[in-house]
Symmetry: C2
Subunit: 131 residues, 2 copies
DNA sequence: TTATACCCGACTATAATAGTCGTATATAGT
DNA sequence: ACTATATACGACTATTATAGTCGGGTATAA
């Protein structure tokens, strides 16, 4: 309950690391070594963030990644959903194939809480974590 | 990310159901039938809540469960942690055996967010969900 | 004494997450 | 052109957490 996945954790660690390096490039190996993150796993996450244009990739020797400037204004909600898909306390806040649905007696109160959390996460920017 | 487990979901549904019945008893079968919850699974959760004194159990024929009056003032944080153990976005907010720990660069910002969420959950009472 | 309903631990199944591997592509340096 | 380094990417396996099942027990009203 409420726990970040490793993927998100690694992504945040990497972003923060890159942040401290400004425009200098960081390699996967460098980051995985420093923070003891499995290299191949981190690699995939960095590649995904590159596709999402959170970071810029430079290929070849002396290549690596650096933070994309607009990334800082991304909200935590968007970040999480970009990397892992929709977020919601109950499935019916995401899809609508629950056998209960109309019968369900907690749907509305839970969805209110859900909205509260989302609104907190929406007010938090990635820069609040990686600054 | 952020999703309630079925156990919590079933527990909340059951509590709300019992709430509407006041001092009348509800059986496991009754609740599992109405909301299409696997009976044995619900049974375990109700038993756990009985041990925790969230609900009172009455044994024998015509037995069942009813809500314990003080339950209403329990916070969502306590409820979740009573049923599922400690809640935290990162392990280091719970235990301290992470190989990173001092090396970790996101610990503090994440823990701030974590505290925010906890404080929201602490201000929400079960009665807000089951009323 | 029988039927009903709670009690409880051990077990299995399923699904989500975490991690690995093989191969391909880009490119700087020589 | 060749080599070493680094990203790109899909398919695979392993691990863990959650979900669900089962078998046997106890309490008690009728």
């Amino acid at each position: 309950m409420l726990k970040l996945t490793r993927k998100l954790e690694y992504a945040l660690i990497a972003l923060r690391h890159m942040q401290t390096k400004g425009k200098l490039l960081s390699t996967t190996k460098e980051i995985s070594d420093i923070y003891a993150i499995p290299q191949e796993l981190l690699a995939k996450t960095l590649q995904q963030m590159a596709r999402l244009e959170y970071i810029d990739a430079v290929q070849g020797p002396h290549g690596g990644y650096r933070i994309h400037s607009t990334m800082l204004e991304i909200s935590l909600t968007k970040f999480i959903e970009d990397l892992e898909g929709p977020m919601g306390m109950v499935d019916c806040s995401v899809t609508s194939d629950c056998i209960q649905l109309n019968n369900c007696n907690i749907r509305q109160p839970i969805n209110r809480i859900n909205d509260n959390i989302r609104s907190i996460f929406s007010r938090i920017n990635l820069s609040d974590i990686t600054h």
